[in-house]
Structure formats: C-alpha cells, structure tokens
C-alpha cells in the first residue's frame, strides 16, 4: 500500500463516519465507494501479481552470448538484450530495471543525467528542484527512461529490452539481476521484487591499437659506441654472424666453399638472428593507485599502458613477464609469448584490478545512505516491514539502520549473535556495509572508503616489495632486459632514496629501467597556475594539489634522469612510445648520451 492509498483510506473512512453522523447520503456514498474501490483494487492486484509473478521468465544475452561467464574488454561497447516472457498475463504495470554495476556506463548517457550538475545546498532548494522535476514531468514531454529500464502495461507477451553499455575499466564484472516494480493501474499498490540473474565477466584491460606505435620522429642522433653491437646469436637470418668448422648434421647448402677451399677444411656459414628483448613489467596496485572511479584510477592508466606494451612487444616476438604488487604481496607472472601468453597476462591484470578494499574504521552517514540505496535497488523485498522486524525505537533514522542491519544479516547469513553485535558495534557494521558495497561493484572511493584513508595507511608498503622484486629480477635476468615500473608517483617520490640503489644496480648490469608514473587528469597541469578559477574550496584545493604535483614531478625527473632512467608522467600514448623507444634502443644497441633531456 502506498502512502497516498493510506491517505485515501483514512479520508474515505472519515467521510463515511461524517456522512453517517450528519445524515449526508452523497458524502457517505462517495466515501464508502472510494473505500470499497480500494479493497477491490487490492484484491485484483494481489490476484494478478501472485498468479503472474512466479511465471515470469528472464533471459539475458551479453554480446549475443547467454552463458553465465565470459570475457569482455574495457572501454568497449557491450550490447545487452534482456528477454522477458510470461505464461500468465499480469494486468499490473511492470517496470523492469536491469541493474548494472558501477563498472558499466550506459551508452549513450541518459539525457537527464548531468555529471556536472550541482545539487542545491539547502533542503528547501532540493525540495524545490524535485517539485519542479515532477511538474515538468507531468506537463512536459514524455519522460525518457534510462536505456536499461522498460515499462510494460500490461505484460502479456514476450518483450525484449535492448541497450548498450560501455565498460569503464578492467576488473571483474557481475550483472546481478533484474529489479521489478509492479503497480496497479491507479498507483494504489506497489510490489518490489529483485529477480537474480547473475552473469560474471572478466573485463580485460584495453590496449592501444595501432599499426605502429614506434615514434616516427627521429629522437636521438647518436652513433653506437665503439665495441657495443647489436645482440647477436645464431639463427636463420640473412646476415652472416661467423664461419665455423663443419660438423656432421650441418646442411650442405650452408657450407662456405670458397672459405673451405682457402683453409683446406670444410667451413659452415653461421647466420645471425635478432635477440628478443625481454620486458618485465612491475605494476603497482597499492591503495593510492586504486582510489577513484572506474576508468579514472591510476591503476587503470597503468594497466592500459602495460597491456599496450605487452601487445607491442609480443607482436614482434619479445617475451614479457610481470610482477603485480600490492599491500598483500607480489604476484609474479611467468614469461609469456604469443597470443595465448598475451591473454594470460591480461587475465591476470584483470583479476589484479579487482581486489577487496581495506576495512573501514568508522561508520559514516554517507556509507549508511549508500548502503540503503543499494539495498533498495537489490533487496527491496527484504526491506518490507512486515518481515523485517526490529526492536522498538523512537527515532526513524535508527529504525532505518536496524532494518538495514537485518538485510545484512540475511545477505551474509549472520547468526543472531553476530546480528546483535552489529546492532551494538558501529565498526563491525561499517565492515559489513563496506563488504556489501564492494561486492556490489562499487569503486574505491567515498563512501566505500572513508575520506583520508590514504593518509591513514602511512608510508607505502609497496615500495619495499617493489625493491625486493626488482632485486630478484635483476638476479635472474639475462643480458640487457627492460624493466618497466608503473607506480604511483607520490609513493616513488617519498621513498626515492630507497629506490635509487636498486636502479643503479639494474643500470650497472646494462639493463634499461623506465618509470611510468601516471597522474590523475585533473591534477595534471604543465603551466603554473597564477590564481584559481574561483574562490570555491574545490578549485583552491585543485590549484594547491597541481602545484604540489608539479614539484613532485620535477623532483622525480631530476633524481631519475641523473641516472639515465627514462620517466613518463603520462598514462597514455606518450608513455607507451617512450617504453617502446627504450626497447628499440636495447635491440639496436644504442645508448643514451649522458644528460639527454627526457620528456
């Protein structure tokens, strides 16, 4: 029963009494008719819904495939088709909402969504805006639903809901199911249900697709140093490497007859082939790299660059290995070559991008609000007050909180004692709420993560792991490998003194080291800002942060280029080209001149 139905019922009962007492037949008749109409409508609604709801069938196809598991790619359009059919017609109006997690973005974006819109500061302003929206909906053009929603009235035959979404970043995507809202024709009664229809996909990171990512502009005009040649080994090229004595089994066509006649013994021509350049990627997945919305995190930029480098390297036959580092430890990826190896690396990166977030230390109102909204979307039947019983409380906010805790109890199958512990302990409740939001696919940002969690973590635990991994890789490395470190610039800058010795060690063994330290777009500014755009707190903070990042970049660049290490602060094409240029240098045997400027 909706609120307006309650008002109608109360008014009609009052009208019956008033009409009976005052002897006003029309008043009594009108009120009694309205009351009986509500009762009849309830019976009709219950009959239609109870008979029709169990017979609803849903089926979802993602890019034409109906399997429960699959693979998608980041930053690509995905076509989703939801089929709904019913063996028994439902006379009520059915609103079907195919719930999509945060990792997906509707494409195109709904016309009413304006990411830059600011909400009014006051409650009155907010109420006014909502009233205006309702009025314009009533008097204006037909309301447009988001693409993943459909209203059917009545639902009697099969229907399809087709829409497109775009994957924002790599990770693990879970499409949970369909939310139904059934309403009678007069809007007096409503029933909410969530139909689980789970499909899980691994979203592989995107990579730069171009025929040739090598820079076309000549960058260095240096000649190879004396004594440094291309790395050569025996192979099947057309270049002559050396002449050696004939051994049984050598092909007759490789015999060098003239040299053999000169030396009076059989000599064989040995040809050379290019030595593959081994590339090792070190990807930082620490907390600072994961904070932010999907597609805007530092980790997303790192995985994009890493995937592009993998693709380019494996495409020319260079093997690639990876080490994925976060606070839990370092995960070593084996050497990979070929398309299969490339896919295995991408799968590992996708799984790496999906990790549980650190536990919250405190319960915040925004965390409660977000969790409530999620439960309303995904567990509407559990919020029904007839079944969600709570201890008595005078405060509406506390009652709402207790109902939410009961929903958590059902979702995570908590015992009554654990449930009571959540009633009494806000920290425990915060942990469960955070787990609920994370499993629903929320990114690592408020309210999932409390503000300032980054500063609570302390000095990065990832840098020591990175140093250890670099040391191990150097110990196992062959000649002239390329180490690509994709890390958070702030952690690197803070602990640069600890990084320098291992970098020197790598360089002393003739390996190449490249640092890719992506920076969030909004904080990237090459020009020193003289004044902020406005006196808004956000603009002032942005300008202050931009200044700090600029200093950080200069410091890192100074420290690393002094050693001859390349560094790029881009998470896009420039970083990829820089790394590939280094790989090409190793392949050609060239060395960078000391003090050359790096971009």
């Amino acid at each position: 029963m909706t609120d307006r139905t309650r008002w109608l019922a109360v008014l009609s009962l009052a009208g019956i009494v008033a009409g009976a007492v005052r002897g006003q037949p029309t008043l009594a008749l009108l009120s009694l008719t309205v009351f009986l109409g509500i009762v009849v409508e309830w019976i009709r609604f219950q009959g239609s819904v109870r008979l029709g709801l169990p017979k609803l069938r849903f089926e979802r196809a993602v890019n034409g495939l109906r399997e429960s598991r699959g693979t998608l790619w980041a930053e690509r359009i995905v076509h989703i088709e939801l089929s709904v059919s019913s063996h028994s017609p439902i006379a009520a109006q059915v609103r079907i909402h195919d719930v999509v997690p945060e990792l997906l973005e509707l494409h195109p974006l709904p016309t009413w969504s304006n990411p830059n819109a600011t909400l009014p500061a006051s409650r009155i302003g907010l109420l006014g805006r909502r009233l205006w929206q309702q009025l314009t909906y009533s008097f204006g053009a037909s309301a447009s639903l988001p693409n993943n929603q459909l209203i059917l009235s009545p639902l009697s035959a099969a229907h399809q809901l087709r829409y497109q979404v775009k994957t924002r970043a790599a990770g693990v995507l879970s499409l949970p199911g369909v939310r139904l809202t059934l309403t009678d024709a007069c809007g007096l009664f409503q029933l909410h249900r969530f139909i689980p229809l789970k499909q899980t996909f691994r979203v592989l990171p995107d990579y730069f697709q171009s025929a040739d990512m090598r820079p076309t502009i000549k960058r260095h005009n240096t000649l190879a140093k004396h004594g440094v040649h291309r790395h050569q080994r025996a192979g099947l090229s057309s270049e002559l490497l050396e002449l050696r004595e004939y051994v049984a089994g050598d092909p007759p066509k490789s015999i060098a007859w003239k040299a053999s006649a000169r030396r009076d013994k059989l000599m064989t021509r040995q040809y050379e082939s290019e030595v593959p350049v081994r590339v090792q990627l070190f990807i930082d997945g620490s907390i600072p790299a994961r904070i932010g919305g999907f597609g805007k995190r530092l980790l997303d930029q790192s995985t994009y660059v890493a995937a592009s480098i993998c693709k380019a390297a494996i495409g020319v036959g260079d093997p690639v290995a990876g080490i994925l580092i976060d606070e839990r430890g370092a995960q070593r990826l084996p050497w990979a070559a070929g398309d299969l190896g490339f896919l295995q690396i991408l799968r590992s990166m996708a799984d790496f991008a999906d990790r549980p977030c650190p536990l919250a230390a405190r319960l915040t109102p925004s965390l409660l609000q977000c969790a409530n909204a999620l439960c309303y979307e995904r567990y509407p039947e559990l919020l029904d007050r007839r079944y969600n019983l709570i201890p008595p409380s005078l405060f509406a906010a506390r009652r709402e909180k207790l109902r939410l805790i009961n929903v958590l109890g059902e979702t995570f199958q908590l015992s009554p004692l654990e449930l009571t512990q959540c009633y009494c302990d806000d920290v425990r409740l915060a942990h469960f709420l955070q787990r609920l939001l994370f499993e629903a696919g929320m990114p690592w940002m408020p309210p999932l993560l409390a503000d300032g969690v980054e500063s609570e973590v302390g000095p990065s635990r990832v840098i020591p792991l990175l140093i250890e991994s670099l040391r191990n890789s150097i110990a196992r490395a062959r000649d002239n490998e390329v180490f690509v470190v994709l890390a958070d610039p702030q952690s690197c800058n803070r602990q640069i003194e600890e990084l320098l010795p291992v970098i020197r060690l790598a360089l002393s063994k003739h390996h190449r080291v490249v640092f890719v330290c992506p920076i969030i777009e909004i904080l990237e500014s090459s020009q020193p800002a003289t004044s902020p755009k406005s006196k808004d707190v956000f603009d002032l903070l942005v300008v202050a942060e931009q200044g700090r990042i600029r200093e950080l970049k200069q410091n890192l660049k100074r420290e690393l280029t002094r050693l001859g290490v390349s560094i790029s602060f881009s998470g896009q094409r420039m970083a990829i080209q820089r790394v590939l240029a280094e790989i090409d240098m190793v392949r050609s045997g060239r060395a960078r001149t000391q003090g050359a400027r790096s971009r």
Partner: protein
Amino acid sequence: MTPTRPSVEPDSMSPERSFEVAFRLANCLQYLLIGLLLEWLLFSETSVDGRLRALAVAVILLGMALGQAWFVLFALQLSLFFTERNQGLLNFDANSYGFVVLALLVIAYALSARQLVPAISRWATRQLQQALAASPNTTSQKKDAQAANALHLGYLLLTGMTLTIGVLAVATWLLNFLPITPAASRRWLQNSLAGNGVLWPGPTVLSMLLMLWIVVRELGWRHMTNSQARLWLRSEFVNNHYRDLVMIVRRLHRKASSRQR
C-alpha cells in the same frame, strides 16, 4: 583512451518539435478540462468568489500533477460536508448518483494521471498528426502498436467504468443494510430480539471476517520468498531475545577489552 570505435546508436525515436508542442498542449488541455469539471463539482451550488475558486482548483490540480490524488477526494468531501443538506441516508436521487459517478471518475483519473494523461495526449496528438498529414508515413508496425495502445486504453476505461458502477451498487446496498438510519436500526433490533438476544448479524459476520483474515494472512505467508522467510525468522528471534543477546554481546566486549589490556 583508445580511438573511439564507431558506436551503434540505440534505435530510439525522439519526438519531433511539432509533436512535442502538441503533446504539451494536449497535457495542458486535459488539466484544464479536469479543472473546469472540478470547479463545477465543488462550487456549483455555492457563492464563493471566482478568485478563490480558481485558487482552490489550482491547488488541487497541482496536487494531482504531483501524484497526490487524495487532494481531489478531500476537496470533494469538504464541499459536500459544507453544502449537502441533512436529508436522511436513504434519500438517494439521480443527482446524488450522477454526482458520485462523476466524482469517482475524476478521482480515478487523478489517481492514474501520471500514466493516463501522457497516454491520452500521445494518442490524440498522433491521431491529429495523421489526420493533418498529406501522406501518412506510418509503417504497419507502428500502426499495430498504436492500435494496441488504443485498445489497451479503451480496455482500461471500460474496466474502470464497470468497476465503478459495480462498487457503487455494493456501496448503496451496504448503506441501506447497515443500521445507520432509524428504520435500519429498528430492523436490526427486531432481528436481534428474534435471535434470543444475540446481536444480529454479529456472529455470522465475525466468523466470516475471521475466516477471511486467516485466508488472507495464510496467502500472504505462503507468498513469502525464501529470503523473506529467513529474514523474518532471524529478526523475530533477535527481537524476542534482544535483551539477553545484548547482555551477551556486552559481556564478550568487556572480556575482549580486558584481554587487550
């Protein structure tokens, strides 16, 4: 990050400018007609000032536009409360029935305004466009869809009328049956005395109500989902043993704190 691939736009139709304007005009026209009808129903036998009438109707229409149809019922009840004469409850005439039917139709319209108003406007605008167009460019698929919509609209209206008349008949019978008027009260007293002093039809009605309540509650219970049933069991247990559970939790917390010290 990657060069954008050519994306396939979803196959959605946005209304043309003229359709948009005609649609909005049709919406406003509907509200205007309902406003005039409400004005006649509420103030026809009163001498209220025109400006006050306009203000009252505007407030009711605003409530309707915001989905609060009880504004309409409240206004009608207030109007009847102050204008209808005390004439005995059995004195129904054609005017009463006519008023009630009209009022019920307005209330039903107000209840479903958010769906019905756009649907009617859309249908009317399309009919007008087709009538005015030199060469109608509607495909057979669109025509079928429009016909289905019109059919559904007609079905809704017919069902609504039938239900209204049926409920009205039941309400009239109930008002005649209940012991509200002196004649009905005397009849009930005679029946009760004839039944050995038991208040008629108390036992029968009570038993029927009890059975109905049991049936409705059972149906409600049996339509619970598994998760709702588990939720109810868990929360009912916690509620029943709340004090004991809180005592246990506090004791555990004290033990944990003392161990940490």
